[in-house]
Symmetry: C2
Subunit: 413 residues, 2 copies
Amino acid sequence: MASGKDLPVSPLALPLPELPPVPGVLLGTGVAGIRYKAREDVTMMAFPAGTTVAGVFTKNQCPGAPVDWCRAALKGGKARALVVTAGNSNVFTGKAGRETCKATAAAMAKLAGCKPNEVFLASTGVIGEKLPTEKLTAALPAVHAVLEPDPWQHAARAIMTTDTFPKGATRTAKIGDATVTVNGIAKGSGMIAPDMATMLCFLATDAKVPAGALQAILKKGVDRSFNCVTVDSDTSTSDTVLLFATGATKHPRVPAEGGAMLKDFARAVHEVLMDLALLVARDGEGAQKLIEIHVAGAVSAKSAHRVAMSIANSPLVKTAIAGEDANWGRIVMAVGKSGEKADRDRLSVGVGGTWMAREGEIVPGYDEAPVVAHMKGREVRIDVDLGLGRGSATVWTCDLTHGYIDINGAYRS
Amino acid sequence: MASGKDLPVSPLALPLPELPPVPGVLLGTGVAGIRYKAREDVTMMAFPAGTTVAGVFTKNQCPGAPVDWCRAALKGGKARALVVTAGNSNVFTGKAGRETCKATAAAMAKLAGCKPNEVFLASTGVIGEKLPTEKLTAALPAVHAVLEPDPWQHAARAIMTTDTFPKGATRTAKIGDATVTVNGIAKGSGMIAPDMATMLCFLATDAKVPAGALQAILKKGVDRSFNCVTVDSDTSTSDTVLLFATGATKHPRVPAEGGAMLKDFARAVHEVLMDLALLVARDGEGAQKLIEIHVAGAVSAKSAHRVAMSIANSPLVKTAIAGEDANWGRIVMAVGKSGEKADRDRLSVGVGGTWMAREGEIVPGYDEAPVVAHMKGREVRIDVDLGLGRGSATVWTCDLTHGYIDINGAYRS
């Protein structure tokens, strides 16, 4: 993280799409001056009574105080407000960190007219520095006073820390005859690895979905998206994905267990999550290339996923790709180091659709030209066939460049 | 690996010590022209009849053909010769790779007057290219003709690939009243992680030790040394440690199970292994700082080791240290991502002997000056106390710098 210094926008950036209002959701952003000067660092969302919520959090054993807060609040299944701060993660801040969460939720609950455990909190930024609680609580009334349905684009920017571009996605879905919207925004570009592959991600919809069904859809979607993305293998202490469902749009009643009626809605949620996860990989610290790794022929899908992640996290593979070198020997090494079942003499490796090695040997006289051309592009595809079974998996990462060292060797200084 | 291009010598390099002759061992080096031009790339050792051997190899599931060869040969427990080549690893070379091993061992056995399975082989360098067998076998007679007891220093250089300095260590030990010597040479600077933390390492002694006792001593020593060193988390397909015992020096007979009589000998072997492992970390690709990580208070030694390796392999920790930033928040993150038992609120983190965080919170008003001074040095020490139990472990790594990207982004090109 670069202390708010301006970084050049990632060459893999995509433009922020138009994010329409989501019926029931009001947003606002403001300046609390927590760490950054002269930029918005507080983002607020408010939801109507009856809003349900689902959440998935980091598996890091040393999570931030806001993660603990959300985990506890999630048990109620209801949400009325979200407060996000940028610049200080409120991680490893001991009792003071817990007090900050309590005070922030109390102040927000008073403004929103709800219970503190209907307020959700998320913070990212520096670890181990006390978050100046009063600056934050003092900033809330002004933000609350200007809440509106529109400023999704603003919110996508206000939650950024080292991100070089704002990240958003939107879809519509049918529930019965009604059309509902799913919006999402995310931040994150380093310290990104399952679980989870982002720092913060917030989705909201106007569908009316019971909390249990909402949680199942979110969990499945995160497993297929964020948990298939890695930037540097490091797992944030703050990773948080929350999905709020306001129920502001009328549609046939969804049963507690969800079921077939939510099929199209689940697709929309999963597409938004996938869009956002890939945007995070595209903004990987120092990233010059987006890498898609497809592993087939594994003994199981789980095994394929582990092999793919071993390749995606290999510094030697990632530096080779940065150097535009289709060094398939390093891919073989990364397959072998995963510890998963593999047979060197059945292994095949391809880059950009050209098989360079087949069943344990180099393919004699394979055409290097398309491989060389592929490696020069912004998107690199690696295929591995283990030749053992039917398990497959796809994961995404980015290359490891001088930019990563520049960004991460200078933080705090 | 930098294709034999000259890299600046690591600032952490130590001078190669005088390596005395080891009674019974003859060495030679020569030029086969396997990949490099105008440098020695073949190293040979010859041992007298009765020499025993022990070996430890990579756990990578896709090992090179020479590793397979050595594993099989090791079953005999006897050795008469070693042939090491630099520039081509003979990994992922299919049937051709196995034929190369067979032909090399046959040619060497003929020269040494022994069986092929008394010949040990090791190769490092590029993966997936066929090793030109005839160039290698053609070079062997000339090397064999000039074998001498002295050229340990030469051998330490001839086995290098991307190493920026040669690595050797020596000790003496008492077995009864006799003094024996243990010499070791190693190569390796990238693709270094347990198990093992080197690419190639060869030890020889004039002690007479049964193969089983020799294997136990080597295994224990490797676990405490090479398996506690990581450069980039990537695990070589060629990692090999071999220990040859010629028995050329008379001493009381060692029983098959080894035992107390070998205590001092085991110490000497372990010290040589530890010296060499740290030299490998000091030559980590792009390394500017040697990092020692000590974890205490874990629920077990194994758990402590895993936490320490999680810190040692974290790109964010390693880049922070490259930037001379004592970013203990990233250390907390790396503890948490290990998945090992940890309690954020009992965790303490120190750098260079100064505790910066104690029991889950920053130490108020800790003196930053000695920490800042420590971070500017060549050797950085990190202490973590998990506050849970009595398990402890120490591991070593190096920082992650622009040099690593330079070296690994340009290989093969």
